[in-house]
Amino acid sequence: MTDAGFVLVGWVLTGVAVSGYRLRIGQRSRRARRSLADPAPPTRAP
C-alpha cells in the first residue's frame, strides 16, 4: 500500500468510528425516550 493509502485508511476509519459512535448514541437515546414516554412501564424479568 502507498503512503497515501495508509492516510486514506486512517481518515476513513476515524470517520466511521466517530460517526458510528454518534449514531449508536442517537439510537439508544431514541429507544430510551420511547420507553420513558410509554404510559405502561416495563417490568423487570423475575
Partner: protein
C-alpha cells in the same frame, strides 16, 4: 461551559421521567456545537489531506499526524475529566450523581480515542518504521491505558451497592497511567519520537500551514469531544431514568402480587430510595445537573 438546569415542574405530581433528559449543554448550544464540529472536521479533512504540504522526510504518511496527535490529546483530556469527576464524587461535600455520570461518559470517549490513537499510530508506523507494532514503552503504556479503562467501563456495568464508589476509585487508579504514557518517551529509549512541539531542546520549527493544521485539528477534536460528551451524558441520564422506572414498576408489581409481603417490599423500596438520595446529594456551590 454553559450548564443546563432542570426544567421547572409545573405540577406537584410531575413524573420523575419528565426531567430525565438533562444535558451538560443547553439544547440550542448543543445543536450549534454539533454544526460547528461538523464544519471544523470537514475543514480539517481539506487542510490535512490537500492544503498542508507533505513532510520532507515522511511524505504523505505524515498526514496521519493530524488525526493521531489530536486523538491522543482527547484521550488524555477525557481521562482527566473522568478522574476529576470521580474525585468530586468521592469528596462528600461535592458528591452528586452527575459526577458519576460525567465520569462514565468521558471514560467511554477516552476509550474510543485511545483505540483510535493506537490504530492510527499503527497505520503511521507501518510506512515510517516498517512495522505495525513494536514493544515500545509509549505503545505498550498506551495499550495498557486502553485496557485499564475498558476494565473501568466493565466495572461500571456491575450493579449493586457501592458501584459509584468502586468506579470512582478505579478511575483514579487508572489515571496514574496517563502521565506514564506521556513521559514514557523521556523515561525510556523509545522508537516513538519524543515530544516535539514543546520540546525546548529540539526547538523544532513546523512549517506554517502544517502547524496551523495541527492546531486546528486539536481544536476540531476538542469540539468533537465536548459535543459527544454532552450527547453521551444525556444518554446516561435517560438510561438512569429508565432504570428507576423499571425498578419502581417491579416494586409495585411485587406489592400487588403478594400483599402479605408488602412490608418487606416497602422496606426494600425505602432502602433503594435512601441509597439513591445518598448518591444524589447536591454539592455545595451547585453542580451541573
Amino acid at each position: 461551559m454553559p450548564l443546563t438546569t432542570p426544567p421547572p415542574t409545573t405540577s406537584t405530581d410531575a413524573r420523575p421521567e419528565a426531567d430525565a433528559e438533562t444535558g451538560l449543554l443547553r439544547p440550542r448550544v448543543a445543536m450549534v456545537l454539533g454544526v460547528a464540529t461538523l464544519a471544523a472536521l470537514t475543514a480539517l479533512a481539506i487542510l490535512g489531506l490537500a492544503v498542508a504540504p507533505p513532510d520532507a522526510v515522511q511524505g504523505d504518511a505524515q498526514r496521519l499526524m493530524y488525526l493521531h496527535v489530536p486523538a491522543a490529546w482527547l484521550a488524555y483530556l477525557a481521562f482527566a475529566v473522568t478522574a476529576g469527576a470521580s474525585a468530586l464524587w468521592l469528596w462528600s461535600r461535592t458528591r452528586a450523581a452527575t459526577w458519576d455520570r460525567l465520569a462514565g461518559a468521558s471514560a467511554e470517549l477516552g476509550v474510543l480515542f485511545t483505540a483510535l490513537t493506537l490504530v492510527l499510530g499503527s497505520l503511521w508506523g507501518r510506512p515510517v518504521w516498517g512495522v505495525w507494532w513494536a514493544w515500545d514503552a509509549r505503545l505498550v503504556t498506551t495499550a495498557v491505558l486502553f485496557f485499564l479503562y475498558v476494565g473501568y467501563l466493565a466495572l461500571r456495568r456491575i450493579p449493586g451497592p457501592g458501584r459509584e464508589r468502586r468506579s470512582a476509585i478505579a478511575a483514579l487508579i487508572a489515571f496514574v497511567d496517563v502521565p506514564v504514557v506521556h513521559f514514557s518517551v523521556e523515561w525510556w529509549r523509545t522508537l516513538h519520537q519524543q515530544g516535539t512541539v514543546f520540546n525546548e531542546e529540539l526547538s523544532a520549527e513546523i512549517e506554517g500551514t502544517m502547524a496551523f493544521t495541527l492546531w486546528f485539528a486539536v481544536l476540531a477534536f476538542t469540539l468533537l469531544y465536548v459535543y459527544l460528551l454532552d450527547r453521551r451524558y444525556r444518554l446516561g441520564a435517560l438510561e438512569e431514568g429508565m432504570e428507576r422506572r423499571e425498578l419502581d414498576a417491579a416494586i409495585a408489581e411485587r406489592l400487588a402480587e403478594a400483599p402479605g409481603r408488602a412490608v418487606e417490599a416497602a422496606a426494600r423500596a425505602a432502602e433503594t430510595a435512601r441509597r439513591r438520595a445518598e448518591a444524589d446529594v447536591e454539592p455545595v456551590g451547585g453542580a451541573p445537573r
